[in-house]
């Protein structure tokens, strides 16, 4: 179980094998998202296609990434499952980062 990154053009995609992102994993998630930003990335996609649960602590890590990339509008999430989509809707995250059905669309959005 881990976080990993890959590149597609100028976009960094963060992937995870964890199915639930909760407070126990929030520090590792935050580190996985911010490490590419610290290295100079301006476009970042978090692939949530295998994630069925996100809590408010993990959400905080996503917000941290969105804030760091706000100047570039460079943070997106992809592959959001129903329970996670509901959390994003309740917390108005569509105003914080862009939300896409899959990484391909997210990459296309950030590459334009």
């Amino acid at each position: 179980m881990t976080f990993s990154t890959r590149n597609d053009k100028d976009v960094v995609i963060v992937e995870t094998t964890f199915q639930r992102l909760d407070a126990s994993l929030a520090p590792a998630l935050r580190a996985a998202l911010l490490a590419p930003v610290d290295a100079g990335a301006t476009s970042l996609v978090l692939d949530l296609s295998g994630v069925s649960f996100v809590d408010s602590s993990a959400l905080g890590a996503l917000i941290a990434a969105a804030k760091r990339l706000a100047a570039h509008r460079g943070f997106a999430v992809a592959g959001v499952q129903p329970a996670v989509a509901r959390l994003f809707a309740l917390t108005h995250m569509e105003r914080v980062f862009s939300i896409h059905p899959d990484t391909g669309e997210a990459i296309a959005r950030l590459s334009t």
Partner: protein, 139 residues
């Protein structure tokens, strides 16, 4: 039916417990209700671990009463999972976002608002030296 659980003060222990509880809700409760209980329970237990006593020897109890129409979860701790005034003074705008001011968007502080939104009732009960945060969700 009453189900009793106990977990150590360890964030990694929370999700497995919550998944055990939501498994009990099948088939009486639909997926939306199970997801709501999952999120509220994880948020409440995380609060208890992060903001409760630092005495790692004191475990956190959970009593679940499940009927055909509602589920009641009592999170039992020696200290309140969160200060009572937070529940009484919950900011209705706690989940609002100003997209023009992301710089000042908080990264934390949404847990209690989410618990209240997911549950039909949220209340504190003090019994002897225990504090119980009672969460109730109806079908």
């Amino acid at each position: 039916m009453l189900h009793s659980f106990s977990i150590p003060r360890d964030l990694a222990a929370i999700s497995p417990l919550s998944q055990s509880v939501t498994a009990l809700m099948v088939p009486a409760f639909d997926q939306d209700a199970r997801d709501a209980v999952d999120l509220a329970l994880v948020e409440a237990l995380s609060n208890a671990v992060q903001h409760g006593t630092k005495d790692s020897a004191k475990s956190i109890g959970l009593e679940v009463v499940l009927t055909e129409t509602e589920i009641t979860l009592d999170i039992i701790d020696s200290t309140p999972p969160m200060p009572l005034f937070l529940l009484e003074d919950l900011d209705p705008d706690a989940l609002e976002v100003d997209p023009d001011d992301l710089e000042n968007l908080p990264e934390t502080g949404r847990g209690l608002a989410l618990i209240v939104m997911m549950m039909d009732e949220v209340a504190f009960h003090h019994i002897d030296d225990q504090t119980r945060l009672r969460l109730t969700r109806r079908r």
